[in-house]
C-alpha cells in the first residue's frame, strides 16, 4: 500500500485507469469524466492510464502494471465479469481501492458502480411494445455478439418480449456498436420490403434514424441511448412523426467511480455495490420531452452521451468534462 505523498497538508493520491477499448466515444467520455473528477476532487496528484484495445488477459497485465506503478485507487471498466477477480484481489491485498464501473464483476473486494444493463433493455423495450399497442413487428439491433453487456441487454429485451405475445421480432442484427454496419443493415432492411413497426437499438441510434430520413420512409418508434444526436432527433423530428425514447447509460460512471474510490480512501464507509438505475426519456410525454430538452446540446458530437453527471457522485463542471482537461 502506501505511496501517498503529503503535499500542503492534503492527501494526494495516485489514480490508475484501466480501459480496454480505444476509439470508442463512450469509453473516451468515461475516461474524461475520471480526469475531470480527479481535478475537481483536489486530492489527486497523478493519473496513470492503461488504455488500449485488449482482452481480459491484457487487462490483467495492465492492472498488474498499475499496481506496480504504485497507484492508490484503480478505476476500471472490466472486460469480463469474473476474469479479473484474481487481480482485483491482489490489488486489494496491497491496500489499493479498486472500483469497477460500467460493468459488474463477481469479486467481493471491488467497489462496483454500474448501470443495470438488463433494466436498460427492459425500459426501452417496454416503452416500445406499449407504444405499439402490444402488437407488431420489431427489429432488435444488438451490439457485439459474445460480449457480456450485449448478452445482458438481450436478456432484458427477451424478458420483456415474453410479456407481449403479439410482438414479433422480425430481424435481429449485430451492429458491433459501429456506425457503418448499422447504416448498412438499416438500408438493407428498409430495402427488403419487410414490414417494420418499431426499432430497438443497443445504442447506435441516430444512424438508424438517418437511414429512415435518407430513404424517405415514414419514421417508426425508435429506442436509443442518451446520445446527443439521437436526443436532437427526438426533439427536432417529432413534428415529422418520429416517436421514440432514449434510455440513459452514462459514461460518466467513470467519474462517479473515482469519487467513490476517493471517498473510501479517505476513510468513508461506502457500499460495495452502487447500482444506477437507467432512466427513460421519451418524446411523447411532457416530462420526457423536458428531460430531453434539458440535456440536448447542439454543439456536441452525435454520439456524445448527455448524461453529464451522475448524482450525487460527480462534482466537476460540464466544461471540464467536455474539455477532457487533465489535472
Amino acid at each position: 500500500g502506501g505511496g501517498n505523498t503529503s503535499t500542503g497538508g492534503s492527501k494526494k493520491y495516485v489514480v490508475g485507469i484501466s480501459n480496454t477499448l480505444t476509439g470508442n466515444g463512450f469509453r473516451e467520455e468515461m475516461i474524461c469524466s475520471i480526469k475531470a473528477q480527479a481535478k475537481a476532487s483536489g486530492v489527486v496528484s497523478k493519473i496513470i492510464t492503461a488504455n488500449r484495445t485488449t482482452d481480459p488477459s491484457g487487462q490483467i497485465a495492465d492492472v498488474r502494471n498499475l499496481i506496480s506503478a504504485g497507484v492508490n485507487v484503480i478505476v476500471m471498466n472490466p472486460s469480463d465479469r469474473s476474469a479479473l477477480d484474481t487481480v482485483i484481489k491482489e490489488a486489494s491485498d496491497k491496500g489499493i481501492v479498486v472500483v469497477t464501473v460500467d460493468q459488474g464483476v463477481t469479486s467481493s473486494q471491488a467497489y462496483q458502480l454500474y448501470n443495470n444493463q438488463v433494466k436498460y433493455a427492459q425500459l426501452g423495450a417496454d416503452w416500445l411494445f406499449k407504444t405499439l399497442g402490444g402488437k407488431g413487428n420489431v427489429v432488435e439491433m444488438r451490439g457485439i455478439n459474445g460480449v457480456s453487456a450485449d448478452a445482458d441487454r438481450h436478456n432484458g429485451f427477451m424478458q420483456t418480449l415474453a410479456q407481449y405475445p403479439n410482438i414479433k421480432v422480425v430481424k435481429e442484427t449485430f451492429t458491433n456498436w459501429s456506425l457503418d454496419p448499422a447504416a448498412q443493415q438499416i438500408k438493407d432492411i428498409l430495402g427488403s420490403g419487410l414490414k417494420v413497426d418499431g426499432i430497438w437499438t443497443s445504442g447506435i441510434d441516430s444512424t438508424v434514424v438517418d437511414g429512415y430520413t435518407t430513404a424517405k420512409k415514414p419514421y417508426v418508434p425508435t429506442i436509443g441511448a442518451d446520445n446527443d444526436g439521437f436526443i436532437g432527433q427526438l426533439i427536432n423530428l417529432k413534428a415529422q412523426g418520429l416517436g421514440g425514447a432514449a434510455v440513459t447509460n452514462p459514461p460518466t460512471v467513470g467519474g462517479a467511480g473515482l469519487s467513490l474510490g476517493l471517498a473510501v480512501l479517505q476513510g468513508k464507509s461506502e457500499p460495495h455495490l452502487v447500482n444506477l438505475d437507467p432512466q427513460i426519456w421519451d418524446n411523447v410525454s411532457s416530462s420526457g420531452l423536458s428531460e430531453l430538452q434539458n440535456h440536448y446540446d447542439p454543439t456536441l458530437n452525435a454520439y456524445y452521451s448527455v448524461s453529464y453527471q451522475v448524482a450525487p457522485w460527480t462534482t466537476y463542471t460540464k466544461a471540464d468534462l467536455i474539455a477532457c482537461a487533465d489535472l
Binding site: T22, A50, T54, S57, L66, S68, R81, G146, V147, S148
Partner: protein, 341 residues
C-alpha cells in the same frame, strides 16, 4: 592455376562463431532488444521483482503462443489469419468443459483440446492445399468459421476451470523468480519444436517454405508438409487458447481476435520472413515478450496513454528499420573485406 580451378565463390567467413552471429543476426538482435528493454524497465522501476516478472509472463504467454503458431505456418510458406479465432475456440472449449471439474480432468480436457487444435489447423491446411486457393484467403475465411464455432460453443463470456489448472501459468513451483508460465512455455517449446527442428520433418518444413518446387524435387512430400505446418500452428494456437484460460479463468468467444495481427508483428519482429523458410520460433516468442514489456513500461513511466500508442507504432517501425540496416552494413563490410583479401 589452383585458384582458377576453384569452383565455389566463397564469401570469406570468419570462424564458426562469426558465421553463426552473421546468420542469426536478427534473432540475436531481438534478444539484445529484450535485454535492453528489460534493463530500461528495471531502471525506471527499482523494485522490479517476482511480482512484475510474473505479470510479464502471464501477460505475454498468449501472445507468445500466438506468435509461435504463426511462425510455424509462415516458416512453412503459408500464413494463418485464423489463429486468433482458433485460440478463441480452444479457450471456450476449455471454459465450457472444465467448469466444475477437478485438475486431472482439466488436464485431460486440455490434451483433447490440443488434439482439436491440431485437427483445426490441419483442416485449414488441407483446404489451402486441396483447393489451391491462396493461404491468406482460406485462413481469412476460416477465421469467420472458427469465430462462429466459438460463439456456438459459448454465446457469451463464461465457464471456468479449477484453480489448480490456472496455477499452471500464474503460480510458481521452484522459485518466485521463475513463474510456472515461463516453465510451461519452455517445456512445450522444447518438447515440440526442438525435436522437430532437428529431424528431417523440420527440414522438410523449412524446405517447403523456402521453395516448393525444389523441395518436391528433393523428395519432400509438399502437400502433407504444408498441412503439417498448419497443424503445428493449430497446436500452438490451442496452447494460446489454454493460456488465455489460465490467465483469465473464463472463456470468451471473442478472446483471441487481437492475437492474429499482434502475432504477425511479433513474428516479423522476431526474424521470421513472411516469404517463408526463414526464422525460428524463439525469436517471435522473445518478440512477444518485448511487445508486452513496452506497454507496461509506458504505464510505469506514466506516459500519456494516447501518446503511448504513437510511441509503440514508432518503436515498431524503428526496430525493423534498424534490423534492415544491419544486413546492409554487413554487405558493405563483406565487400570491403573481399577487396582487402
Amino acid at each position: 592455376m589452383k585458384a582458377a580451378a576453384r569452383v565455389s565463390r566463397r564469401i570469406p567467413v570468419g570462424p564458426g562463431i562469426a558465421r553463426f552471429v552473421r546468420r542469426n543476426a536478427w534473432t540475436l538482435g531481438i534478444y539484445g532488444l529484450f535485454v535492453a528493454v528489460m534493463i530500461f524497465t528495471i531502471s525506471i522501476h527499482p523494485n522490479y521483482g517476482p511480482y512484475e516478472i510474473e505479470s510479464l509472463v502471464v501477460g505475454a504467454l498468449p501472445l507468445a503462443f500466438a506468435a509461435a503458431a504463426q511462425a510455424c505456418v509462415v516458416i512453412g510458406g503459408g500464413i494463418d489469419l485464423s489463429i486468433g479465432a482458433m485460440m478463441a475456440v480452444a479457450n471456450v472449449l476449455a471454459a465450457r468443459y472444465m467448469l466444475h471439474h477437478d485438475f486431472q480432468t482439466a488436464v485431460l480436457i486440455s490434451l483433447l483440446i490440443l488434439v482439436g487444435g491440431i485437427l483445426a489447423g490441419s483442416l485449414n491446411g488441407l483446404i489451402a492445399v486441396r483447393t489451391r486457393v491462396p493461404d491468406i484467403v482460406v485462413t481469412l475465411a476460416m477465421s469467420f468459421v472458427w469465430g462462429g464455432v466459438a460463439l456456438l460453443i459459448l454465446a457469451k463470456p463464461g465457464g471456468g476451470a479449477p484453480d489448480a489448472f490456472m496455477a499452471l501459468s500464474s503460480g510458481n513451483l521452484f522459485s518466485p523468480w521463475v513463474p510456472n508460465g515461463l516453465l510451461l512455455l519452455i517445456v512445450v517449446v522444447s518438447l515440440v519444436w526442438v525435436p522437430l527442428r532437428l529431424g528431417r520433418l523440420g527440414l522438410a518444413h523449412y524446405a517447403v517454405g523456402s521453395d516448393r518446387t525444389a523441395a518436391f524435387r528433393r523428395g519432400v512430400r509438399v502437400g502433407p508438409t504444408r498441412v503439417f505446418s498448419y497443424a503445428l500452428g493449430g497446436f500452438f494456437a490451442a496452447c494460446g487458447g489454454l493460456a488465455l484460460m489460465m490467465s483469465t479463468g473464463i472463456g470468451s468467444p471473442l478472446a483471441g481476435t487481437i492475437y492474429t495481427l499482434s502475432g504477425i508483428s511479433a513474428i516479423v519482429l522476431g526474424g521470421v520472413s513472411l516469404a517463408g523458410g526463414r526464422g525460428g520460433i524463439t525469436g517471435p516468442i522473445v518478440a512477444a515478450f518485448v511487445l508486452t514489456l513496452v506497454p507496461a513500461d509506458l504505464i510505469l513511466t506514466g506516459t500519456d496513454p494516447n501518446l503511448g500508442q504513437v510511441i509503440q507504432g514508432v518503436l515498431l517501425v524503428l526496430v525493423v528499420m534498424a534490423g534492415g540496416l544491419a544486413p546492409l552494413l554487413r554487405a558493405r563490410a563483406i565487400q570491403r573485406r573481399v577487396q582487402a583479401g
